[in-house]
Amino acid sequence: MKKIICLMLVCIMAVSFAGCGKTNETNGDGTVTLKLGLPGGKTVTNPEIVELFKSKHPNIKLEIDETPWSDFKKKLKMQVATSNAPTVFIMDSGYVAALGGMGAAVDLTDRVKRDLNPEEYSIALTAGQDAQGHLWGVPHDLNSVAIYYNKTLFDEANLPYPDENWTYEEMFEMAKKLTKDIDGDGKTDQYGFCSLNNITAGWLPFVTANGGVPLDETRTKSMFKDPKTVEGLRRYIEPVQTGISPGMEWTAANGGAIAAFYMGKVAMLMGLSSAIKNINANAAEGFEYDVQILPIGWDGERHCVYVPNYWTIFSRASEAEQDAAWEWIKFYLSEEAQMLVADEFLAGYPIKHTALEYLNTKESAPANTKVFYQGVEEYGVTLFENKTFEEWRPKVDTITAQMFRGDVTFEEGIDEIDKQVSEALLEE
């Protein structure tokens, strides 16, 4: 009986510790196996780049760990917990900061200083730096926010297309003229603008356009009660309250803001560059649209929110694997690979200037796509990512949705946002 109980306990312990192994180190033949985590696989990372890397680095054996975007983060969290994460992987900016905070990502500051010339790259190269100066990732691709507009609806309303010198006030004026009750039933059928309930293409552009910020410089203190931030949020809520933008319920019932835009129900949409693929794939033939840079803010400045996806190196990989991972990143940021990123618009834009210049010479749909990356260079603003970003960000979104609907007064909403964000920031 004792033997059987001992055997059971051994089994339990074996299962408990099964996931605690160290990742692979150098192989016997002197090669290194590099496990590459690719969410979305070939639809996100150009396979040509992978093949080129293989041919140029015979001493590094690439092992691709491919998972659809929607499940990649969940899978990665478990892999990180069990020390089985890919050596280098793509991750969104919010989670990269969290990984850095918990010690699961390698600080790339010294490697970037040693091997890359920042002048050859977009400012996004070091956007993954936290308030303490640690660089937890370098960009796989770059996404940024601009205004999408439906050219047909502008033509029908006899409105000129927006130019690069426009302001938020002018955008609201246009939106008013584009908001229509087409069938005369007393309900709006076409909205001039569509407010999104998120940080990137939602409240942050309005807050920054008003000179406000969500967090202080150390990213450890809420600034949601700062008068400039408060005023920015008031202006963010305004389009829904004045009826030039639909509420969240209408947007959700119409399949989301992007669907409402390409179905011609919304004339202008603040959106990420990644929405282009969705619009081009789903819009009906003859749908005419273009993009314009974000308007000049109430503070007289322009601020363009951008959000890269990052290459991150797992801290529990061996030294040899980390070095191989850095070789991969350096190759990905080389002229050769960046031109391939520019050639096929998969997840976002390249970050090397020469590749961006090359992109300028290419025809694109929509025609004015350059505003996405030009805006970043001159007026770029990141999402204020920190270790608790994934916790405080959705809390803000939930309360702003309640403010849109009038469930809470504007003042109550601001108090609640400040309280909840401050609670989440206690961990910082």
Partner: protein
């Protein structure tokens, strides 16, 4: 029984025992331990005493979660038990094709909850959903269902979907209960001049009460742990439809706060245990055993 036979006995029951120890007892004990620690599953747990419990009890979302889950349980159990009783009585008659009806009502129980939730989300869509189209014929609606910004409308809509999915299970149990009622009792009532309605409320229902009690206890325990339907059907309308299941999931898997998530899990366990004890205490007042 010889020692050799005894040992073989242990071997035969060991798959269950090992499964129980590894997948039930160990996680329960471990979650109890980590609820007193700061634990992100990457770094070793750091002992913090009751901090997670205090944080959880001060979280507005925890109380919103209990508000939503109590509302959900109330609507779901009311619908499931009442409709289940009606269906069981109807299915207890010897009519043609009764087996087909029994299978039909039980089929949703066998359908995966995620698939059902997606289908009902389409049915609930205020613009294109079939439900508003049907309600229009009888002059009702339009309703926003799970696309509403009002938490109570969202919670009620999910409860109705869950009731549809689970009523077949309740019906089968109640049908078994009905078939266990002695025909003598009904016959005696009929001789005494009791009508169908009176027989149902004064004979059938009291004699079904042990089964209803069992279904209610089990139903409340299950429903308090709801997760899948809310996770799939919640829309980005800003309505606070957090339930305890989604709160635990978010804290553990989104924010990597496994200590706090475990503390919420243990608080939820205590609440469910109290509810079960209350139901057990109330049993004597309304449950009749033959």
């Amino acid at each position: 029984m010889t020692k050799k036979h005894k040992n073989w006995g242990w071997v035969f029951v060991s798959p269950y025992i090992i499964g129980f120890l590894v997948f039930s007892l160990y996680p329960i004990v471990f979650s109890g331990y980590i609820s007193f620690t700061d634990y992100d599953i990457f770094n070793p747990p750091q002992w913090v005493g009751f901090k997670n419990y205090i944080t959880a009890l001060n979280m507005a979302d925890l109380w919103m979660g209990f508000r939503n889950v109590f509302t959900y349980v109330l609507i779901l159990e009311t619908l499931q038990i009442s409709i289940g009783c009606i269906l069981a009585v109807l299915l207890n008659h010897a009519i043609k094709g009764i087996s087909a009806f029994r299978v039909m009502y039980f089929m949703p129980v066998l359908t995966p909850i995620v698939a059902v939730s997606f289908v009902w989300t389409y049915m609930y869509n205020p613009m294109y959903g079939v439900l508003n189209y049907l309600f229009k014929f009888i002059g009702l609606g339009p309703f926003k269902f799970t696309f509403s910004g009002l938490w109570v409308e969202v919670v009620a809509s999910i409860a109705v979907m869950s009731a549809w999915k689970g009523v077949g299970y309740t019906t089968i149990y109640l049908l078994a209960g009905l078939q266990n009622i002695s025909t003598d009792v009904n016959e005696a009532a009929r001789i005494d001049g009791a009508g169908a309605v009176r027989k149902f409320f004064n004979i059938t229902l009291p004699l079904l009460s042990p089964m209803i009690f069992f279904l209610l206890m089990k139903g409340v325990i299950d429903a308090m742990q709801v997760f899948d339907a809310f996770y799939v059907m919640q829309q980005a309308t800003g309505a606070n439809t957090t339930v305890i299941g989604t709160l635990i999931y978010n804290n553990a898997f989104e924010y990597s706060k496994f200590g706090l998530a475990s503390a919420i899990g243990w608080i939820s366990f205590i609440v469910i245990a109290i509810l079960t004890l209350i139901q057990k205490r109330a049993e004597k007042r309304w449950v009749y055993y033959e």
